[in-house]
Amino acid sequence: MHALANPARFLRIARPATGWLLAVGLVLAIAGLAGGLTLTPPDYLQGETVRIMYIHVPAAWLGMAGWAGIAAASLSQLVWRHPLAAVAGRSIAPCGATFTAICLVTGSIWGRPTWGTWWEWDGRLTSMLILLFLYLGYIALAAAEKERSGEGRITAIFGLVGAINLPIIHYSVLWWRTLHQGQSISFSGSTIAPSILWPLPLTFFGFSFLFAAAVLMRMRAEIARAKLEARLRRSAAE
């Protein structure tokens, strides 16, 4: 991570990586979604609505992973003052917010035919909604600090403090056993039948690569804008 803090070195890696991540991500996501829609059998309990899992689970993971990325970038910014850390945090935030919103909306759509309700103030649902609000707050704070030419320290502190919500989301299904089902997949195995499970890793990695590609594109845009501003300032001073 320290090696990537150099913008020139970062761009040398990010330029080819963007295209590869986009291409591989698209192939995996399309294969997983097509397989999940047409090849897997309906669940014995949930029926056809189980297919929503192939987008809902990766979206939930990316919403949480996005904030973990923001927290790591915030830590790098505050401790090591990495020049790209604030750029990374600002680039991750809209991507994480998008996938958190996708998670909430697809979960709600799944809940209507399965639970009989669009929304319930359940621990998991509420903590995910708080994550979306944290993202929106982070985006607004980062934009305000950038406009005032600040270093982004307040945004970084907000990014670190907001990470407290991640274990709350993760353990919410154990602490408050209400409507959302418990963990189905863990490092020790899965309770989902293999005939239904197989497209999930494809969409999981597919959407993860697309997320990474979007973050890299946003970081490249920020670096290019910073270069442009520096050149304009230099030419105005000459």
């Binding site: 829609l37 991507c95 697309l210 442009l228």
Partner: protein, 43 residues
């Protein structure tokens, strides 16, 4: 209750939102890099 409208709606929203995110990121990157390139060529 027919589940397919729910499945299709969930997929459509997820795909549209992902496509919009990727497109917005791509356009932002292309325009910023093109503007930086243009200024470098001029100076």
């Amino acid at each position: 209750m027919n589940p397919w409208p729910f499945v299709i709606a969930a997929y459509a929203i997820a795909l549209l939102a992902t496509a919009a995110l990727l497109l917005a990121s791509f356009v932002s990157m292309r325009s910023a890099e093109a503007a930086a390139e243009k200024l470098r060529d001029r100076t």
